[in-house]
Symmetry: C2
């Protein structure tokens, strides 16, 4: 049975696109059943509608970068109505709080454009450039109340070149994001992810 | 002209060995002219003596993991007597302080078994294993008063496997250490390292 994925997104939605593409092509055992944005102008909403996926703007009702109160309830309601198994944050610019996280315990993933635990928070690519590091990358992790600090599922590494700009590095990382995010969804869909001592173990659960 | 390298070391000296090997073979434009240890039983001293390199134990005169006072002066004196151009820390278990660092400004390198700025300090491999990260590596950096925080010269990445132990991960990282440390020495020896805005730029200085 396909894993029913709900995607929360605030912007362009290139990660959403890669998840949609690989679910349509059958590369991953998942189906995006609903896309929700806190931004009525998010390009991501159009990407979903274009292929017939339900896409909604839900007013977050606060300027703060969090999802709380009545808005949080609305988001949860829509996810439940659509029988979502897995919530994927794909450039969703709000921090989820305890209630939301406990409703979907170990069923919320996020992608971050750096090799966590390095460079948490905003502008991770700029942070990496400014650090003088020779490598950066992308991390898919489970969402916990520790922002950008939940158990890591997969990572990918990219080199940082001396002439890199934030844009060129972001593009290089994005390519890896588009590869590993669907892969993580597929691992979960196939029942190959276990959490043990707050760490992710990948493998055959019944193997 | 060969870059005259002084190595400070507390233990086995496998990085020292790789530097010695590549200087003897002519792979790098450097010569290890003196090895100093704060540990009279360091295997590294024997490695140096075996190939005719001057190797001294110098009493650090404190139990604290630092090099200060009269001991610091003695270390500096020996390095100067031997006309050392570059000081390489290779598993030297003491923090250098302001006086030493300013005497060899941008002429002290260190190697650390992690992808800095992640996992500074002791037991970096264990820290990486416990974090659940999927990659770690090695970093060669200039030594500043910011411990494990100086400008990065080169890094290398290795995967972390699920069945890794501290020992197996350390071995994998060590292999990369032995590769990149001599490479960094060679870059400096060839005048290819610039520091700009506290970051290392590698390339032809007169190019």
């Amino acid at each position: 049975m396909l894993c029913r994925v709900g995607v929360l997104v605030s912007g362009r939605g290139t990660n959403l696109q890669s998840i949609i593409d690989k679910s349509i092509s059958g590369e991953i055992d998942a189906e995006v059943v609903v896309v929700i944005s806190d931004n009525p102008k998010a390009q991501a909403l159009n990407r979903a509608r274009k292929v017939g996926i339900k896409a909604l703007y839900l007013d977050p009702a606060t300027e703060k970068p969090i999802l709380v109160g009545g808005a949080e309830d609305k988001y949860l309601q829509v996810l439940k109505e659509n029988q979502v198994d897995l919530v994927c944050l794909a450039g969703f610019m709000r921090v989820l709080k305890e209630k939301f996280i406990s409703e979907y315990k170990w069923r919320i993933m996020n992608i971050h454009p750096a090799l966590l635990p390095s460079f948490k928070g905003l502008h991770a690519q700029r942070q990496a450039l400014n650090s003088g590091e020779r490598f950066s990358g992308a991390t898919v992790h489970f969402v916990t109340e520790d922002v950008d600090g939940g158990p890591i599922i997969l990572q990918a590494v990219v080199p940082i070149y001396q002439d890199d700009t934030e844009e060129s590095l972001s593009q290089r990382i994005l390519k890896e994001e588009h590869r590993i995010y669907p892969e993580c969804i597929n691992l979960l869909a196939k029942g190959k992810i276990q959490i043990k001592d707050n760490k992710v173990i990948i493998g055959e659960i019944n193997g």
